[in-house]
């Protein structure tokens, strides 16, 4: 599926749309360029013709040239569109900005007004206006613009509210800018794309509405030509010839399409949209991956990851970009392993790739993940069915969002139990209660609650219970305590430890928090810039980290900071995927760097039994690091 031709097709459509609007502009400014005929000149000998050399778009009942009538009717259409759009945009943007920015009473008042405008039966009010000021396009379209402002008010208000929550508005306030200056200089430019998209929609709707009004006889008085009027005239002769309906109908349709396409193009530019399907069927390409190193050793590991690489398509170019290279680690039954690194290090991508759910539409591009003898990288949909939930459970970071918000907690748990074990409803319900008890949610009322009615800690317990429903042998927990406050965090960690011990369930714990690692993990895998840089026991990490990055991470851990001393931070930033250096990926941030570090890729070097670090200076550091 290549993206380029599609994008090209869209671009050329946008160009065509712009061209069409250009033609309309010419029709208004210099109609003589498009037609030499008088729109009112009758010729009864040439009535109701289809396209001829004489009359390119045929003639109407009175033999008037349809092309000329269409061209001369364009001015009314565009004027009406301009009026409605300007009124709607000015009113909608100003009111939406005010409501979203200031909030409070002003917001309430504006929203009530918007509700009112929305409830107005638009076309009826328009009929009232049109019959009050017969044949006055300007007034009718002003009224229409006011009615259409309702939607824009809502959109702009919503966007302004979320802008307000952003840092830079607060920064501007601190810098002493007035509200008006902030709105004008900072909010408005950010909202411009949004407003243009809405304006193009309003323009499109206005074209249709205006044609409709003229069709009903509320446009400029005959014999002046209008698009809607032409359709009405076409209807009158429909029994004899349907032809006269086509040119005005096509003109309306093309103009509406042009406005919509331009709006779409602006939207794509501002949001970078073409969303890809997130639940797309499993990618067939996976089967072509070369097999990793053969692994026949009868190690007891429940999960053995070897040389795992993953790529995610770039947001702009859609070209796959490698974000994890050659990740290897293993987890024994009942063991808790921490996967540690700063954000962007690839730890979450690695964990989700194990589950075959590489985020961002990405794929595993190499390596293997042996889970109880089955290579998950090459697993079929049928095999996944037995693994996910039953073999491996998954707990996500944001517990409040982890369960379906529209169903009760107990019902979701019971459904999971039924799916995994096939028991009947009644048994499933009591199993669900047992699961909740296992995560220390003993109040039976919890099962009847909806996810949003649970506190953060309760929701995370419920999410853990959900992951336990299939009695998995491995639990993958992605930052399970990050969103929780300290005391709750401790109790969730204790729960995970107890569950792991009681059920001899292995846990892969993704975290950036070394405090969590210290409390819970048996062994640690440290990731940096898409690579595993160190693999060791928790004791080894805390007493003598071998990789400079591990050491720096440890030094920067706030929970180990000394009172009265500045917290050491790691200088510089980690290289992003695609900008990884050839040699050691940490070279630019490391104080021990030598030329040799940059020369070639650094392999993992074993420094103690089963413990490895990706640093060529491990041997020296072994002596350099004091063992406390």
């Amino acid at each position: 599926m290549t993206r380029a031709p599609r994008q090209l097709a869209r671009t050329s459509l946008t160009v065509l749309a712009t061209l069409w609007l250009g033609v309309l502009a010419v029709a208004v400014l210099a109609p003589g360029l498009l037609t030499g005929r008088d729109p009112l000149e009758q010729d009864l000998t040439a009535s109701l013709q289809t396209a001829t050399g004489e009359h390119l778009l045929g003639t109407d009942r009175l033999g008037r040239d349809l092309l000329s009538r269409l061209v001369h009717g364009t001015g009314t259409v565009l004027w009406g569109v301009a009026v409605a759009v300007v009124v709607a945009v000015v009113l909608g943007t100003v009111l939406g900005l005010i409501a979203g920015y200031f909030g409070g009473l002003l917001d309430a008042a504006v929203m009530r007004l918007s509700d009112l405008l929305f409830a107005v039966p638009g076309i009826i009010l328009l009929l009232v206006v049109a019959s009050t000021f017969p044949n006055d396009v300007t007034i009718a379209m002003t009224a229409f613009g006011v009615i259409m402002a309702s939607g824009l008010i809502r959109v702009v208000r919503g966007a302004t509210r979320s802008l307000r929550a952003e840092q830079f508005i607060a920064a501007a306030k601190v810098a002493g800018l007035s509200d008006a200056q902030i709105l004008w200089r900072h909010a408005l430019p950010r909202l411009l794309g949004l407003v243009i998209v809405q304006a193009s929609l309003i323009a499109a709707v206005t074209v249709v509405t205006q044609a409709g009004l003229a069709f009903l006889g509320f446009g400029p008085p005959p014999p002046a030509p209008t698009w809607g009027g032409l359709m009405d005239e076409g209807r009158a002769v429909m029994a004899q010839s349907a032809w006269p309906l086509l040119p005005p109908g096509a003109a309306v349709a093309l103009t509406v399409l042009a406005f919509l396409l331009i709006g779409d193009a602006v939207r794509d530019r501002t949001t970078g949209a073409w969303s890809t399907s997130k639940l797309a069927r499993p990618n067939r390409r996976r089967s072509r991956i070369a097999s990793g190193e053969a692994d026949v050793s009868a190690s007891p590991a429940v999960l053995k990851v070897r040389g795992l690489s993953a790529a995610i398509p770039d947001r702009v170019t859609f070209a796959p970009r490698t974000v994890v290279t050659d990740a290897s680690f293993e987890i024994d039954p009942g063991e808790i392993v921490g996967l540690v690194g700063e954000s962007g290090s690839g730890k979450t991508v690695t964990a989700l790739s194990v589950l075959g759910l590489t985020p961002g539409g990405g794929t595993v591009t190499g390596g293997s993940c042996m889970f109880e003898g089955l290579d998950l990288v090459r697993a079929t949909a049928r095999q996944w069915r037995d693994v996910r939930g039953r073999g491996i459970g998954y707990v996500a970071q944001d517990s409040a969002l982890s369960l379906d918000p529209s169903l009760r907690v107990g019902a979701q748990l019971a459904a999971a139990v039924r799916r995994h074990t096939g028991v009947n409803r009644r048994v499933a319900r009591s199993r669900a209660a047992e699961l909740l008890a296992a995560v220390e949610l003993t109040d039976p009322a919890v099962a009847r609650r909806y996810p949003h009615q649970l506190s953060g800690g309760m929701a995370q317990r419920a999410a853990i219970a959900y992951a336990l429903a299939g009695s998995p042998r491995l639990l993958i927990a992605d930052e399970p305590t990050t969103a929780l406050d300290m005391t709750v965090q401790a109790s969730i960690l204790a729960l995970l430890r107890r569950l792991s011990r009681d059920r001899s369930m292995a846990v892969l714990l993704v975290t950036h928090d070394l405090g969590v690692v210290a409390q819970l993990c048996d062994r640690v895998v440290v990731m940096y810039a898409g690579q595993v840089v160190e693999r060791c026991t928790t004791d080894e990490l805390f007493t003598g980290p071998r990789h400079p990055y591990s050491a720096a991470l440890l030094a920067a851990d706030p929970s180990r900071a000394r009172f009265g001393q500045p917290l050491p931070v790691i200088a510089g930033t980690a290289p992003v995927p695609g900008a990884w250096p050839r040699g050691c990926r940490m070279a630019d941030r490391c104080s021990l760097v030598t030329d040799q570090c940059r020369a070639a890729e650094v392999p993992l070097l074993e420094y103690a039994h089963g413990s490895v670090a990706r640093c060529i200076r491990v041997a020296e550091r072994q002596d350099a690091v004091p063992v406390s």
Binding site: D115, L116, A119, V120, P121, G122, I123, I124, L125, L127, V128, A130, S131, F133, A211, G212, F215, L216, G217, F218, M238, A239, A242, L245, G249, V252, A253, V256, L257, L260, S275, S277, K278, L279, L352, L357, P359, R388, G389, I392, Y394, A396, Q397, S402, L403, D404, P405, S406, L407, A416, R419, H420, Y450, Q453, A463, Y466, A467, A469, G470, I476
Partner: protein, 313 residues
């Protein structure tokens, strides 16, 4: 829940007042005189004054509105200036065709739009692009233009359906449906494509939510995720849009009723507007506003049923 309904009902009262006042003021601005319109251009000034007094047109505007309001509350919407027919009766008689049209069109737009939108979101690729394109062209062809085309093809060229007219549901359900096929077909595409686009965006949005990943990771089959969880959570915005769509179909109904000569509210309003028949127009405004309010209420109820966060507030 009850509070939600009560609040909306309470809010609908000032809304009705403002909208009727607005249309009252607008209509009173109509240049020319209703009395003169009734009596014709050759009427003597005394005659005109007499008719004006008789209609209450010589009183201040606010007073005219209040007395209209006082009667309207008691169910008396006055009578047509031109035909003398009682407005309530006239409007009531015209309710059925309009409601039939917008109900059928909303239902078909909902079914077609949701099916297309969800399929395109879940499958992605070509179907997704097709829905995008269709939603544009569906919006691009105005309902009344499509109506004309449908008449030209399916009533004039191949007379499969009647070109005009309406049959009461009570007298013959079959013919009622037969007469409404073309009007609904004309009204539906624009609405259906708008629904499809919204359903697609809402579905994609839900697919991106954390709980979908959690369910996938914990072994919930794809079908179950889509049909039991994603659809339910994507339904909120789609239902909201269906409300907007059916309200906007009221506008389309004015034009479509005109093309198919359906004796509905919309065509009554259009005729009344062109004849400056204030009481009829005002009656139509009241009914249209009431319909929009009822639609809003229905949307709220469905929303509450779908979303526990709304229901339990």
């Amino acid at each position: 829940m009850t509070r939600l309904v009560l609040r909306r009902l309470a809010w609908s009262v000032p809304m009705l007042l403002v909208i009727t006042l607005l249309s009252f003021v607008l209509v009173s601005l109509i240049p020319g005189d209703t009395a003169r319109a009734i009596l014709g251009p050759s009427a003597a000034p005394e005659q005109i004054d007499a008719v004006r007094a008789q209609l209450g047109l010589d009183q201040p505007l606010l007073q005219q509105y209040l007395s209209w309001l006082g009667r309207a509350i008691r169910g008396d919407l006055g009578s047509s200036l031109l035909t003398g027919v009682d407005v309530s009766q006239l409007v009531n008689a015209r309710l059925a065709p309009t409601l039939s049209l917008i109900t059928l069109a909303t239902l078909s737009a909902g079914v077609i739009g949701v099916t297309l939108g969800v399929q395109s979101a879940v499958r992605g690729g070509r179907l997704g692009r097709l829905v995008d394109l269709a939603s544009m062209s569906g919006l691009a062809v105005p309902g009344f233009a499509l109506a004309l085309l449908l008449v030209a093809v399916f009533a004039v060229r191949w007379p499969l359906f009647p070109a005009t007219g309406y049959v009461d549901f009570a007298s013959s359900p079959g013919q009622w449906l037969h007469a409404l096929v073309l009007p609904v077909a004309a009204a539906c595409p624009g609405a259906a494509t708008a629904v499809a686009k919204q359903a697609r965006d809402a579905t994609l949005d839900v697919l991106d939510r954390e709980f979908v990943r959690v369910m996938q990771a914990n072994g919930v089959p794809r079908r179950t995720i889509i049909y039991r969880h994603v659809l339910r959570n994507a339904a909120g915005p789609v239902v909201s849009l269906l409300g907007v769509v059916s309200a906007s179909l009221l506008g389309a109904a004015v034009l479509i009723e005109n093309v198919f000569a359906l004796p509905g509210l919309g065509s009554a309003a259009a005729v009344a507007a062109s004849q400056h028949d204030l009481p009829v127009l005002q009656g139509a405004v009241v009914y249209f506003t009431l319909i929009v309010i009822v639609i809003g209420l229905l949307v709220d109820l469905v929303q509450a049923w779908l979303d526990p966060k709304v229901r339990l507030r």
